[in-house]
Amino acid sequence: MSKRILVVEDQPDNRQIIRDMLAPTDFEITEAENGEEALAAIAKQRPDLILMDIQLPIMDGYTATSRIKADPALRSIPIIAVTSYALSGEEKKARAAGCDDYVPKPFSPRQLLAKIRQYLR
């Protein structure tokens, strides 16, 4: 069975890039535009990995991550923060919120895919 990736990202271009990046792979993709939608999507169908933008409308990526990591049933899902929010200590904050990994934007699709494969071997 193919692995499912939840992409939480409010920028249509960035969702498109990730979609195109994953197109040649056999990963399945679900999309959410903010933290709230992400939680709803997870409740519907458990993903195997989450790509989490941090600066999001309605509910930001930190909050969504903390909620997911607070749920024992969901805690094991790896979350990769993908963010262009560039204040210092951002990586530390992302990890403190419970993110398993951190990829700064602009990201190289090639490198992001390699990172995803690390978690979904």
């Binding site: 920028q11 271009d13 960035n14 890039i17 195109d20 990046m21 197109a23 040649p24 600066q55 262009s84 929010y85 560039a86 204040l87 210092s88 200590g89 990586e91 530390k92 934007k105 602009p106 990201f107 190289s108 699709p109 090639r110």
Partner: protein
């Protein structure tokens, strides 16, 4: 100064036997006891002479000088002599040599402390008030012979405004000391109601001036009709001048604090703005670089050779733009004191390799040799490896940018607990004048270079700060025509970020 009530009677008896005029007083000058000899001379009974009564026997012209002497004696705690005329029971005055002896050291000390406290109690609230009421003018009122709480009460009933109706108003109007011998007899005086309640008669007001404008005043009130002497007025004015200066200092200090708070806020806003801007600038860049890479990788069909070339150019330019944005963000963080080193273990060999793999293609494009000479057996370092990589990329990137033929070389070694890393090129070299400017923000050796070679001119300034935060040093050695060598040294182990000076 008799404090011990049990022995007061005995002492009184003893004093009565002495054929010299003696009176004992409290620190404020009110009499506690008057001996027999003195009672007989002045003709005043004990009740009449007690408290302030004894003063009535002193010749009015001697009172001020004696009071001054008295204060000196009390303040110093040391015995003192004075001359004054005392009225005899028949109304004649006779000159006396008077000796005042502070009684008991402990009591004396207490006197002087009490006086000091009273001074303190007067001055401190005024200063506090000044701070609290920065926008408001202030008057201080001292009344002779009435309770301190009356001061506040009276103060609240005297308007702080220039006018003929009050003595305070007149001093504000005239900007010099004003004395009214008897406010009851003054036709212009308008605060009769307050006057009747508290009974003050002679009033002196001296202004506190700031750049010639009154900011406050000191008002002295007497319950009797008796003029303040020139000396007293002068003293009050001196105090008012000092208070004026103190108030001005407090205001200035407050203003400076406000200013620096505002500046700090503005600086915070600026760096927040730059951080936000940088985010806004990176977001579209993510799309540009992302699509470019996907296209080059054939996600949208195999690109032709020509297209691949263009895509590479697109990527290079996008990355350059990203570098510029990062530089501006770094500098804003440095300026806001927000740049923090993330300390972890690093390996100099790895850093050199990262720099090589990043920049060797650029050197190859210009047909430059790229050398890396890292000494064997280098110890593992502790510091911010990512930032140190950034510094070396900057130095080597510059070397490649400015060198048209020959080579660029990275050299690294460890000596005496410090790493020494350099980037050497065979470029045009830098004149001594330009070397001095290199590490300053927004400076490139030649502004024309910015147009030709690009760059923000921030790279070396940022590198310098990063190295200094590691407790290290960075410098350049160069001669025009003979290439340049940029070198930095830093401790192998950095446990704590060095605050910039």
């Amino acid at each position: 100064m008799l404090e011990d009530r049990a022995s007061a009677g005995e002492i009184q008896t003893a004093l009565d036997t002495i054929p010299v005029l003696i009176c004992t007083t409290r620190p404020d000058g009110t009499a506690e006891s008057v001996n027999k000899c003195r009672r007989e001379y002045t003709g005043l009974a004990l009740d009449e002479a007690k408290d302030k009564g004894w003063v009535s026997a002193v010749h009015p012209q001697d009172l001020e000088s004696f009071a001054a002497k008295w204060r000196t004696i009390i303040a110093s705690g040391k015995m003192g002599d004075a001359e004054l005329r005392l009225r005899r029971f028949d109304g004649d005055y006779h000159g006396f040599k008077v000796r005042a002896v502070p009684h008991r050291l402990s009591t004396c000390r207490r006197c002087s402390t009490r006086l000091a406290n009273r001074r303190h109690g007067f001055a401190m609230p005024t200063l506090r008030q000044c701070i609290a009421n920065r926008e408001r003018n202030i008057a201080f009122i001292a009344t002779y012979g009435s309770a301190p709480e009356h001061r506040e009460f009276i103060l609240n009933r005297i308007p702080f405004e220039a006018g003929r109706g009050t003595v305070l108003g007149r001093t504000l109007l005239e900007r010099k000391p004003v004395q009214v011998l008897d406010v009851v007899a003054d036709p212009d005086y308008s605060l009769q109601e307050v006057q009747r309640k508290f009974g003050f008669r002679t009033v002196l007001a001296v202004p506190m001036l700031r750049e010639g404008n009154p900011v406050g005043a000191i008002v002295l009130m007497r319950l009797t009709v008796r003029a303040f002497t020139d000396r007293q007025i002068e003293l009050a004015q001196t105090f008012a001048d000092q208070a004026g200066i103190a108030i001005e200092n407090v205001w200035l200090f407050d203003e400076i604090q406000d200013k620096s708070r505002q500046l700090e806020e503005a600086s915070q806003h600026k760096s927040q703005f730059l951080a936000n801007m940088s985010h806004e600038l990176r977001t579209p860049l993510n799309a540009i670089l992302g699509y470019t890479e996907l296209m080059a990788d054939g996600a949208y069909g195999e690109p032709s050779e020509k297209m691949l070339g263009i895509l590479k150019r697109l990527e290079a330019n996008g990355k350059h733009l990203l570098g510029l944005i990062n530089d501006v963000l770094d500098l804003s963080k440095i300026e806001a004191g927000q740049l923090e080193l993330e300390l972890s273990d690093y390996c100099v060999q790895d850093i050199a390799q990262t720099v090589r793999s990043t920049l060797e293609p650029l050197a190859a494009d210009k047909k430059l040799a790229f050398k890396v000479e890292v000494a064997p057996q280098m110890p593992s370092g502790r510091g911010d490896g990512r930032r140190l990589t950034q510094v070396l990329i900057n130095l080597v990137g510059n070397a490649i940018k400015f060198t048209d033929a020959g080579e660029v070389a990275i050299k690294a070694e460890a000596n005496n607990g410090a790493f020494c890393v350099s980037a050497r090129d065979t470029g045009p070299g830098i004149s001594a004048t330009d070397q001095a400017k290199l590490f300053q923000e927004f400076q490139q050796a030649d502004n024309a270079i910015t147009r030709k070679k690009g760059g923000t001119g921030l790279g070396l300034a940022i590198s310098k700060r990063i190295i200094e935060m590691h407790g290290g040093r960075i410098w350049v050695e160069s001669q025009p025509g003979k290439g340049s060598t940029f070198t930095f040294t830093l401790p192998v182990v950095v446990e704590r970020q060095v605050e910039p000076t």
